[in-house]
């Protein structure tokens, strides 16, 4: 696990810097839980619980807990939640999803991919960017996107699929370079 200079905190580090590092860890854990299929609100709850458990385990004065420890704690919390719900099939699917995460996200929990994606988004034409913002930013239904962009519902579906494919290529290219 590679940590940034900011994240390599030692006991006694200023609280503000530690909070920033913890917030970064929180975002990674939440991202991981979303990858596992966890609902957004629940992902935030599980991520916070994992961090609280980490603080209790490693001490509030310590540095940022190891990411694998956090991910395991969060995964267990999510697993417990699924079991409480009786969602046995999804419990069984967690381990393959975790393996997939390890394979594609890497040691930085996809931070590099996110940075690359940000650059790729900046290169998009305004209309394409708007379509993605409507879909992912405003959670707009397909009909609303179609109305705003002057497309049919199927056209929106095709547009989003093409955009995702293009972004995937762009991200891959940037990571490779």
């Amino acid at each position: 696990m590679q940590l940034s200079a900011e994240e390599r905190l030692e006991p006694g580090t200023a609280p503000g810097a530690r909070d920033a590092a913890l917030a970064a860890a929180f975002r990674r854990v939440r991202r991981y839980l979303r990858f596992l299929g966890c609902e957004p609100a629940l992902a935030e709850d599980c991520a916070q619980e994992a961090l609280l458990a980490a603080i209790a385990h490693f001490g509030a004065q310590g540095g940022v807990p190891p990411l694998p420890w956090l991910l395991t704690a969060a995964r267990n919390g999510y697993r417990m939640h699924l079991r409480r719900q009786g969602r046995a099939r999804e419990v069984g699917g967690l381990d393959p999803l975790h393996a997939a995460w390890v394979e594609v996200a890497g040691a930085d929990a996809a931070d590099e991919r996110l940075a690359a994606l940000r650059c790729c988004l900046d290169e998009l034409p305004p209309r394409s960017r708007r379509a993605l913002e409507l879909r992912y930013g405003e959670d707009a239904p397909r009909a609303s996107i179609a109305r705003e962009l002057g497309l049919g519902a199927e056209g929106v579906k095709s547009l989003l699929a093409r955009l995702r494919a293009a972004l995937a290529v762009c991200v891959q290219r940037r990571i490779g370079s």
Binding site: R18, A23, F26, F35, L52, A53, G86, R113
Partner: protein
């Protein structure tokens, strides 16, 4: 998952994270239809409550000096920043009561368990499908088995009403075939052992031992869902979710499986518990089960009636005595819904009990397993505020005064309930004759479950203009005569037919829809009973369960 699929999934997550600020900050400005069913909305409400609790916990945590990562980015725009929380000073106690413990090794798990101060039971739940309110038994494989016996040699049908809920369609046999509840795990060997050790004759009383003397045995099984930890062995709760409170106030969460006696903190950490801890878990689980049950108004022991809070609005209990109605139920002024289950063997309910029930002032809904009380039903006429009445009676011959007296009592009762809008009749005790009286009521919703009603009886309903919803469960056949009878019910808006057996005929359904164009119609196939095994002698204890398909027409 293939790498390509994983990358697509990750891209979606990253897009949501990068662009999804608006979604995290609040609801979307775009209207979208709410596809969630009622259950989903309850779940959503629970999540909202959980969120409120989380916020409260966050404030408590911040008040104690703990940091809450990510809180800043969820703060609404424009709201001033809270002062930076102060870190606890060395030696200052941490807010441990908010923190769960995650052991990292078996040794640590054992050490933590050694310091358990108390056990909280978070939930008692099945490992398979199930609902907590269904009065049937969940087998260990996650399905419920319904067992039926028949004796072709004697022609006798042995029925056991048992704890089965006549209002759940899945519990009702398509005809008066026996439905025997297996109170243990449902293993055939246990069932056979019980049969062999019981000297008494078969009975419909759930407390009677069951013996069927026949030269041919058939065991029928059907998959269903649901479980009941309120009957039988309460210690055999399929799965228990626990929180161990440690000496320092922290909580250790774990899941306990009584079948294997394994306590799991995570997939990697499982321990087989010893006798002492097993006993403590069992005690905590039973107390939790009882408290949770009483909180829902479900009473198994009539002595517990006195424990119900005065604000109780819904009660489910066995048949009480008149004295218990007066001292236990009548002291609940808010009681609106009452469900009375099978009668106790020693005290069959009489007219006095029903008269006492009629004195409950706020009762709006009444459900009775009414076998022994049918001839005295007219004593309920004092319930002028009653809006919903559900009656189940499987065996008219057990109704004391006989079927005629029962029918007369029902005919006398229904017209005297001016606010009655929903009526449900379940069991073979009811038939066409009981529908004759309905035109003298204002019933809007009628449910017939496993009754002997036929198309001839439906014609009486043509004179009931208020009828809007009709639910027929265990209907024999959707033939031309039936379609014609349904066609006379012009006021119907919803019609659901569940056939006693077989698949619905598409042409018949189409004809029915043409006759009732304004009615929402659903026709479902029969329950699909199948024989699991057949023997010519009482089966051996270790008999396996071969698959056996009954001959055509079997089961009538």
């Amino acid at each position: 998952m293939k790498r390509e699929g994983a990358e697509k999934r990750l891209l979606e997550v990253l897009l949501e994270e990068e662009l999804g600020g608006a979604r995290r900050r609040g609801a979307s400005a775009h209207e979208r239809p709410d596809p969630r069913p009622l259950r989903g909305r309850w779940l959503a409400a629970a999540v909202v409550l959980l969120g409120v609790g989380t916020v409260v916990a966050a404030f408590a945590l911040q008040g104690r000096g703990g940091a809450w990562p990510g809180a800043a980015e969820r703060r609404p725009a424009g709201q001033p920043q809270d002062p930076q929380p102060q870190d606890p000073q060395p030696g200052e106690p941490q807010p441990l009561e908010l923190v769960g413990v995650v052991p990292h090794s078996r040794e640590e798990f054992v050490d933590l368990l050694a310091g358990v101060r108390s056990i909280r039971v978070h939930s008692l739940r099945p490992q398979g499908r199930g609902t907590q309110d269904t009065l049937v038994t969940l087998a260990t494989d996650g399905t419920t088995r319904f067992w039926t016996l028949e004796s072709p040699a004697t022609g006798q049908r042995h029925t056991a009403y048992g704890q089965a809920d006549p209002w759940k369609a899945r519990n009702v046999a398509p005809d008066p075939l026996a439905v025997l509840e297996i109170r243990d795990s449902g293993e055939l060997a246990d069932w056979v052992r019980d049969l062999r050790s019981s000297p008494a004759a078969a009975s419909s009383d759930p407390d009677d031992p069951v013996v069927v003397r026949a030269d041919r045995w058939a065991v029928w099984t059907r998959a269903g869902e649901g479980f009941d930890y309120g009957t039988g062995d309460r210690a055999a709760v399929p799965c228990t979710e626990l929180a161990f409170e440690l000496a320092d106030g922290r909580l250790l969460g774990a899941v306990f499986d009584p079948a294997t006696r394994v306590l799991r903190c995570s997939d990697a950490l499982g321990l087989r518990v010893g006798e002492e801890l097993l006993q403590r878990i069992g005690t905590a689980a039973q107390a939790s089960e009882r408290n949770g049950r009483l909180a829902r108004g479900i009473v198994l022991d009539l002595d517990d009636l006195r424990l119900l809070p005065a604000a109780t609005r819904s009660v489910q209990c066995p048949w009480p005595t008149a004295e218990q109605v007066r001292t236990g139920l009548a002291r609940l002024p808010a009681l609106e819904r009452l469900s009375i289950g099978p009668h106790a063997k020693a005290a069959p309910p009489g007219r006095e009990v029903l008269a006492a029930l009629a004195g409950l002032p706020a009762l709006r809904s009444l459900e009775l397993c009414a076998d022994p009380a049918l001839p005295a039903l007219d004593a309920l006429a004092g319930l002028v505020q009653l809006e919903e009445l559900r009656l189940a009676a499987a065996e008219p011959q057990r109704a004391g005064g006989g079927a005629a007296a029962a029918q007369s009592a029902l005919a006398d009762l229904l017209p005297r309930l001016p606010r009655l809008r929903a009526l449900a009749l379940g069991g073979a005790a009811f038939g066409d004759a009981d529908l004759e009286v309905l035109p003298r009521t204002k019933v809007e919703r009628l449910q017939l479950v496993g009754t002997r009603a036929s198309a001839a009886g439906l014609r009486h309903l043509a004179a009931l203009p208020s009828l809007r919803e009709l639910d027929l469960d265990g209907w024999q056949a959707l033939d031309e005569v039936g379609c014609e009878a349904f066609g006379t019910l012009g006021g119907l808006r919803r019609l659901r037919i569940r056939l006693a057996r077989g698949q619905p005929d598409g042409d018949a359904v189409a004809r029915l829809r043409r006759r009732l164009p304004d009615c929402e119609i659903a026709v479902e196939q029969g329950p699909g009973w199948r024989a699991a095994a057949v023997w010519t002698a009482p089966p051996p204890v270790s008999a396996p369960l071969p698959v056996y398909l009954p001959p055509p027409g079997h089961g009538r």
